[in-house]
């Protein structure tokens, strides 16, 4: 792992000012009590939120826009830096990459963005209600799929490159700011904070079954529990829209043989319906269960990457107040009783 560097907050603001001119710079900004990625310029770099999880929308939406014409030339986009990506969203890029870059067919629109967007990941310095990345073997700090790691401590910003592109970016920063190596004490302080957050997460989710066990529990579960939890589901699809690993889409036809790739979800009625009328997901509780089966039972059989990274957004967003974690904990406790 590369060495950790440190830069003063004042210098960092200068770097961001420069970057916002040469890149499209996105970072988490607070809005109405929640945070989400916004395009920032040198006037509002002060509004950026540091190291507090997590943007309302996953970083997925940068690579897979809700709607995109996938038959016209993809214009060369201004290079972008996306700053503030939490570890859960970075890990989720694994399955997106598998789906859109591998498996015999490459989506050139997705590929173009993956190659051109620079990602700066955040260490999570706090946890919010439904965070559970550590239950699925992840750490609450960036380990992969990003170029730089960033952690802010009061007036200092710590940076570490996690890719060749990240190292380049550090070099570029050196033109606008004093970057020095972090001391041993500073580095170990960062590690201590990482351990503390990891411990908090593990403690908070001590009853939550792990990823593989969840798959087994779901596979063996009776209809009853799904009917019960689905009773407040209204098939709004918010859980999937906001999920960093859900990848399903619909192709919509436009004149001149153009096609729009629009994100879609198995939670919407008619998702699997065929012209002759058969609809495997016709019943609401079957549809509701399908998303869990897909993530924990079926995807593991066909994909190398995990299909839930424990961000908890599906729970945050559910208007039916359905908690995935409560459901899985209930399955686990029923198994034990």
């Amino acid at each position: 792992m590369d060495k950790m560097f440190v830069i003063s907050m004042t210098d960092w603001q200068a770097v961001l000012g420069q970057f916002s001119a040469s890149y499209s710079l996105f970072a988490p900004v607070e809005f109405n009590g929640s945070q989400d990625y916004e395009l920032v310029d040198k006037e509002n770099t002060g509004n950026i939120i540091y190291n507090h999880p997590k943007p309302a929308t996953p970083v997925k939406t940068f690579f897979l826009p809700v709607k995109e014409n996938v038959t016209v030339e993809s214009g060369i986009e201004k290079p972008a830096i996306i700053m503030g990506v939490p570890s859960c969203d970075l890990a989720a890029l694994d399955i997106l990459d598998e789906m859109y870059l591998q498996r015999d067919y490459t989506d050139i629109y997705y590929k173009n963005r993956r190659e051109n967007f620079i990602l700066i990941g955040y260490d999570c310095r706090s946890i919010v209600e439904n965070c559970h990345c550590t239950s699925y073997g992840l750490k609450p700090y960036p380990e992969k799929n990003c170029d730089l790691m960033l952690a802010r401590d009061r007036h200092l910003v710590f940076l570490q490159s996690l890719s060749a592109r990240g190292a380049e970016l550090l070099k570029e920063m050196g033109k606008y700011a004093d970057i020095i190596k972090a001391s041993k004490d500073e580095a170990s302080e960062i590690n201590e904070k990482r351990s503390e957050i990891t411990r908090l997460l593990k403690d908070k989710n001590k009853n939550l079954p792990g990823y593989e066990l969840s798959g087994k529990l779901i596979k063996d579960s009776p209809d009853k529990i799904w009917k019960s939890y689905a009773s407040t589901c209204v098939s709004c699809g918010a859980c999937a829209a906001i999920c960093p690993t859900c990848t399903c889409f619909l192709l919509i036809d436009r004149p001149d043989f153009e096609k729009i790739r629009q994100l879609d979800t198995c939670q919407y009625p008619g998702f699997e319906k065929v012209a002759a009328g058969e609809d495997p997901l016709g019943e609401l509780f079957v549809r509701f269960r399908n998303r869990y089966q897909c993530k924990y039972v079926w995807k593991p059989l066909k994909f190398k990457s995990i299909a839930c990274t424990g961000c908890g957004r599906c729970i945050d967003t559910c208007i039916g107040k359905i908690s995935k974690n409560e459901l899985l904990e209930e399955l686990a406790s029923e198994k034990n009783s």
């Binding site: 065929v274 058969e278 495997p280 089966q293 079926w298």
Partner: protein, 273 residues
């Protein structure tokens, strides 16, 4: 790995429309460039500006300059396709998926069971088997249609009957005054066929309910799960194993199928829906 745009269809000119039955038509298309497929693979056909739907070609995979697609009027897109006239330009993507396992059919007694428009992919298979007749031991084709008028490819059936090693049995669900043959669903024909089951492979294609009862009957006759091949009809929307609409348990039907052996899919949820 294909770096081309996976969503962009080729253009194909519609040169002929053949009325097969009151609800089924065949569309002969000439793609702008050579288009090869293996029998049982499917294509995504675009009706410009309206929609796209998956179909398994009904023509021989050995014919490279044109492709024939047989379509039943069943929904929004297919109804509009039925109104097309020769000269129109359509879009075509593919071919996609895994077709019929010819290597596992050659040298065996092949029992083919079809219902309704399910004859379409099977005709492609039959063309292929006919062309490779020396590798084929025996082909028994059992076909059921709703009524005599809904029987498609009548001239082809008559021709098939005259071919050495090929045997054809037909039934209709509901007879009329023109019909003197068997009455009942396609599975009733299976009582009549003579086949050495241990050395046989069965291929079934038709409406889900017919496939379900077809499989039950074949199992009852003594066929093993792995000796039965099915063409699954699911909502194959992208054809690329990505969009998720055709998921059947762990399988993406468009990529892992659409042809499966029964033992591969029997434990997946809702296979007949």
């Amino acid at each position: 790995m294909k770096e081309t745009n996976i969503y962009k269809p080729l253009r194909a000119e519609l040169i002929e429309v053949i009325e097969e039955s009151p609800t089924i038509k065949s569309f002969v298309l000439v793609p702008e460039q050579e288009f090869s497929f293996a029998t049982g693979q499917f294509v995504e056909l675009t009706l410009n500006g309206t929609g796209e739907a998956p179909f398994t070609p009904s023509s021989s995979p050995l014919v490279k300059d044109r492709i024939e697609i047989t379509i039943m009027k069943a929904g929004y897109v297919t109804e509009k396709i039925h109104n097309l006239k020769p000269g129109e330009i359509m879009g075509i993507r593919g071919p996609y998926g895994r077709g019929y396992p010819l290597d596992r059919l050659y040298g065996k007694e092949i029992l083919i069971v079809g219902g309704g428009c399910g004859f379409a992919p099977l005709r492609s298979l039959l063309y292929n088997l006919e062309a490779e007749k020396d590798k084929v031991r025996k082909v028994t084709f059992c076909y059921g249609s709703k009524n005599p008028a809904e029987c498609i490819y009548k001239p082809y059936i008559e021709n098939l009957k005259t071919i050495d090693k090929f045997e054809v049995h037909r039934t209709v669900d509901v007879a009329d005054e023109t019909w003197a043959g068997e009455v009942g669903v396609a599975t009733v024909l299976l009582d009549k066929v003579e086949v050495n089951i241990d050395d046989s492979v069965a291929v079934v294609c038709g409406p889900p309910i017919m496939m379900k009862f077809g499989v039950m009957k074949l199992l009852e006759m003594g066929y093993k799960d792995r000796q039965i091949y099915l063409s699954m009809e699911k909502n194959m929307s992208c054809g690329l194993g990505k969009c998720g609409h055709c998921m059947m348990g762990e399988y993406f039907v468009c990529k892992d199928g659409p042809v499966f052996s029964y033992d591969e899919i029997k434990d997946q949820p809702d296979i007949w829906k």
